[in-house]
């Protein structure tokens, strides 16, 4: 391995401009993927925040008894989809309405009877904020005889989840397209780097070097180029994030694991692209 490492480093030293060019091409290709990841992550975060507001409200009949409320509260709280069940009494409902709708203050002041029902506000756990879970919990809550109505903003939830599906499909399609283009650019960059050294491959084959021995320094060089490109892409993405954060709008930084995955992907692409390119040259002698 020491020979492979020495040769890989020596190759970069002998043609530093070519090595820098290859790493820059890899870096720019992955930078586009990084920007896309930043956008996708923030879109996902925004949707997640909206989703966190998804809740099921079960309106209770006025003649409901405390024991019945406690029973429903306990049973619904134990559902795996449910994060929290909050009982809102008629009085609390009125106070909330007064607070949330100050324009209707006079209307509320003139009331002699509180028309608002008590309710159970059911919040779902992250991961269960899906249309299926919302509908399932609504059906369960609605099955209690003392529940008059169940609301979860059907139309709103359906639109939200439709938007999520569209976003997920767009992210998958565009992400794949960007990744394929990045892989193609990385492949081309390394192909150029290896083409410049095809004479070495030729001589190695000529004098009887084993294929594995020939490949090793090139694979290592591909990994090093991919790694350098990945780090460059990470830096460029971070600089773009800071600039957007400072001058445009509030953004969330992508998870560290994504950055590490991106750098590892760069190295992996580098190894694969080098391997394929070397194989083509190995067939020539």
């Amino acid at each position: 391995m020491s020979y492979a490492l020495r040769e890989a480093v020596a190759a970069i030293r002998r043609a530093p401009l070519l090595a820098a060019l290859a790493a820059s091409m890899v870096g720019l290709a992955l930078f586009v993927v990084g920007l896309f990841a930043l956008a996708a992550h923030n879109l996902s975060e925004a949707l997640r925040q909206v989703e966190s507001r998804v809740e099921v409200v079960a309106y209770l009949r006025d003649d409901v008894r405390n024991a019945e409320v406690e029973l429903a509260h306990g049973e619904l709280s134990r559902l795996p989809e449910v994060e929290q069940v909050l009982f809102v009494s008629k009085q609390e409902a009125l106070e909330n309405a007064r607070r949330d709708l100050p324009d209707l203050g006079e209307v509320f002041a003139d009331l002699t009877v509180n028309p608002l029902p008590a309710s159970l506000e059911i919040r779902l756990r992250p991961g269960f904020r899906t249309q299926e879970a919302v509908e399932g919990v609504s059906a369960l809550a609605g099955a209690y005889p003392f529940v008059e109505d169940v609301a979860y903003g059907r139309e709103w939830v359906e639109k939200l989840f439709a938007l999520r599906r569209v976003a997920a499909a767009t992210v998958a399609v565009l992400g794949t397209a960007f990744a394929v283009v990045a892989a193609f650019i990385i492949g081309t960059a390394l192909k150029i780097a290896i083409f410049a050294r095809k004479d070495e491959i030729y001589v190695m084959r000529l004098v009887g070097a084993r294929d594995g021995f020939i490949r090793r320094p090139f694979l290592l060089e591909g990994a090093m180029t991919g790694l350098a490109g990945g780090v460059l892409a990470g830096l460029l993405t971070y600089i773009s994030f800071r600039m957007a954060y400072a001058f445009l709008f509030n953004l969330a930084w992508i998870p560290a694991s994504w950055i590490l995955d991106g750098i590892a992907a760069g190295a992996l692409f580098g190894v694969i692209a080098s391997g394929l390119s070397v194989r083509r040259h190995l067939r020539e002698v």
């Binding site: 020979y3 002998r14 030729y202 001589v203 084959r205 000529l206 004098v207 070097a209 294929d211 021995f213």
Partner: protein
């Protein structure tokens, strides 16, 4: 040591480059392959080196046969066969000793041996003093000597040379040919392709194989020279 048995090599576009060629090169033999351009000289050397495979027939080199030696195992043949070209094919941007050492390193020679052996090989070809020179600083004859040193790196049993003097002047040619003779005198077979009949004439002890349009038309080891054939001199 090298056997070609009824070897035919056909290319899809060019047609037959060799037609039913058979000969045997013994250990320590010095032989010329002559013929016009396109007669099949280079193809013959490539078949022995196993960088080409015969369409029909069989090539055997030091126990390895073209039929049974897979692409993965071909390195074993290459280490038994040194190869020298007209255009040297040295690695630019490296010194003479680095070019020779490269051949040793990539074939797994222990690191502590590489430098001393490369230096010794350069001494053998008369270039010890120029070990540190970049290859582009060397003359054509010197570059060919480096290429020969590289070809000898893995102690082959035969040295193949494809028009090795084609790019050299008279004096450099003489030097390279003397080197081949010395190498041959140490017991290594030398098989040299050339169209320079003047050169062939000067080495009367060497065996001559003449190819014409892919066919072996003359072998000095088995037949008297055919009338009117220049290679008979």
């Amino acid at each position: 040591m090298i056997h070609l048995d009824n070897v035919t090599k056909e290319y899809s576009r060019r047609g037959a480059a060799l037609k039913d060629v058979s000969f045997h090169i013994r250990k320590g033999e010095f032989a010329f392959i002559t013929g016009h351009s396109g007669s099949g000289k280079s193809t013959t050397l490539k078949l022995i080196h196993m960088s080409e495979r015969p369409t029909r027939g069989e090539v055997r080199v030091s126990g390895y046969t073209s039929e049974r030696t897979s692409a993965r195992e071909v390195w074993k043949v290459r280490r038994r066969v040194g190869y020298v070209f007209q255009d040297f094919r040295l690695l630019p941007g490296r010194t003479a000793i680095e070019n020779v050492a490269f051949a040793l390193e990539v074939t797994g020679t222990p690191a502590q041996v590489v430098r001393t052996k490369a230096q010794r090989l350069l001494g053998q070809v008369g270039l010890a003093a120029k070990a540190g020179a970049m290859v582009h600083e060397l003359s054509g004859g010197e570059q060919q000597r480096v290429a020969i040193a590289r070809a000898l790196a893995n102690d082959p049993v035969v040295l193949l040379a494809d028009e090795p003097t084609g790019n050299l002047d008279e004096r450099a040619t003489r030097g390279v040919m003397e080197l081949f003779r010395d190498i041959n005198a140490m017991g290594m077979a030398v098989l040299m392709a050339t169209h320079d009949l003047g050169l062939v004439r000067r080495y009367t002890q060497a065996r001559v194989l003449e190819l014409d349009q892919g066919s072996l038309v003359y072998d000095s080891a088995t037949a008297p020279p055919p009338a009117g054939t220049e290679a008979t001199v």
